[in-house]
Amino acid sequence: MKFAAVKPVSRVLARELAVTALLLVGVSVVVFAILYLAPGDPLHTLGVREAPGLPRSWYGHYAAWFGKMLQGDFGHSIRTGLPVLPELARVGVNTLTLTLGSLVLTLLIAVPIAVHAAAHGDTAGNTAATIGAYILSAVPVFWFGYLVVYVFIHQFGMFPLISGTATKQAHAWLYSLVPIFVLGTASGTLSEMIRHLREELQRVLAEDYIRTARAKGAPVWRHAFKEGFLIPVTEIMSAKIPFLLGGAVIVEQVFNWPGMGRMAWQAAQDRDFPVIMGIALLAAAFVRFGNLLQRVVFTAVNPRASQE
């Protein structure tokens, strides 16, 4: 009884972990299947041979490959001959910064708009903001990127590039905000965030228990925070990670951001299967991990989680 709020968390957490693991295996199967079906037997380029004692068959291949991966051996890049995993680790960090950065930045923009709209209904201000977000989300990312670069260069006389190039300039870190901003606003993230947060918050504010809170003169936000803010925010964040990772492929090209996206493109060019597979897997892992975190927060916050 006393631990009603605690016990489920651990239990549910365990379950979520299991699910995540299961899904990651599934992911690896999908990736494997794609290459298995591909013409020209790309699997051989991975140096995948049947594991000893296993029949010569697709699952033999798979087992061998999966086994190697578990030992952290993702093979070597065909193009550079480098082992894939450390390479990915290096660029993965950059992509993660880009993605998470833009998540946070988008939140900083979306939350005030959403909250304001939820609290005060449509006002000229937040309607305009919402429509603006809509339009941004419909602009092709890379074109938007070029636009931003152009504006920065010709209006502000600044050069919004990272990849070490900004080292020569004052407050270089500022420049890294630009790609983050572009990734965050374009590709639909911003508008969807605003909408989701707003809908959820409005739904919650209409709940009975909020009325109770008002009736007893308690601050409404204190009561609406968990269900109306914390949960939706984590939900939308984890839901958006895959989109952002996809967008990163583009944005990293435009802004010369040394991340996975650029590597993925290069790899697709060179049919560098070990690399592109590694990237697909790593990206999926990011997504799953984000999702796991969301579930953890949800479970920790919501006493009913264990009932679900």
Binding site: A4, R214, A215, K216, G217, E227
Partner: protein
Amino acid sequence: MDAPLLAIEDLRTYFYSRAKRAFIRSVDGVSLHVAPGETLGIVGESGSGKSVTALSAAGLVSDAPGVISGRIELHSNRVRRNLLDGLERYVRIEQRDGRVMAVEKDHRGWRRHAETTMAGVRGKEIAMIFQNPRSALNPYATIGRQLVETIRLHTSCKGEREAKELAIRWLERVRMDSPRLRFDNFPFGMSGGMCQRAMLAMALCAEPSLLIADEPTTGLDATIQSRIVELLAELKAATGTATLLISHDISVIQRLSDRVAVMYGGTVVETGRATQLLAPQAEARHPYTAALLASIPSAETIRRKGNLQAIEGEVLDTIDVPRGCRFYGRCNRVTEGVRERCAGLEPPLAEVAPGHKLRCWLYPA
């Protein structure tokens, strides 16, 4: 009878229905008063505006297009204040032949103003309990936290520990089983009855001067209902808190209230002492009240009539209010003598006996 604790004068609450592009006159000129320590029961079918009256009194009418006018005077610990004071500054209502044509409202100004006036009142002076207690409690916080919060907001004891002790004492007072354990429970684990008890504790722990109980028994199963009713009676005896009790269930009203107001179509159609108004054979009675009484299963109605009668017709749509008596459409006691008055002209709330008023052409003052 000393100065009323709560005096509602000509309260009007209108909502705008986006869907219908029209105004719903949920409360349309209601006047009520509650004396200290007394319980006023408001009874009526759903949609008769009784709940809205309560919400208006507690300043919880939050819908952007909702507008309130009239006076709601709260007179407690020697201060008298009009809870609707100054709100009229934020709205302009356009009427044409008794029909609201347009409303212009500065909602944010209204909201801010209302909040400031209600700040010291809600929870402290006026506490509320609602129907469906399970959804009325915050599912994300333990019972204890919600109680403690109220206590620390509205009572002198601010410390966490003594607040907790007080909370637990209140849980005992509302007959909560094993209060110490319940203290750490989340609402979802508890029965509706338990939740309602918790709600009660939460409402009363601030020792308010007025308790508004909005359909406190609705959404509970019968056995629990009676328990809650008993508990209410008991607590009222103990604390002597004045209560505004809203229910569609006459038996509840009968059990708990000193005075009763019957509402129909947004107005009070009859009001008086519970004893005389609900007495099996009263000499004067509004047809609607009669119909209500006839529709409840109670020993003597069955003995007298042998069967129950449902009220014919639809509940009044309060968008287009008829010129005449609001009940005219469904009234089964219209006589030729009064017909065109009933149809043409709304009857006044006339005093037929001391303390007993009703709104019907059959009983001229």
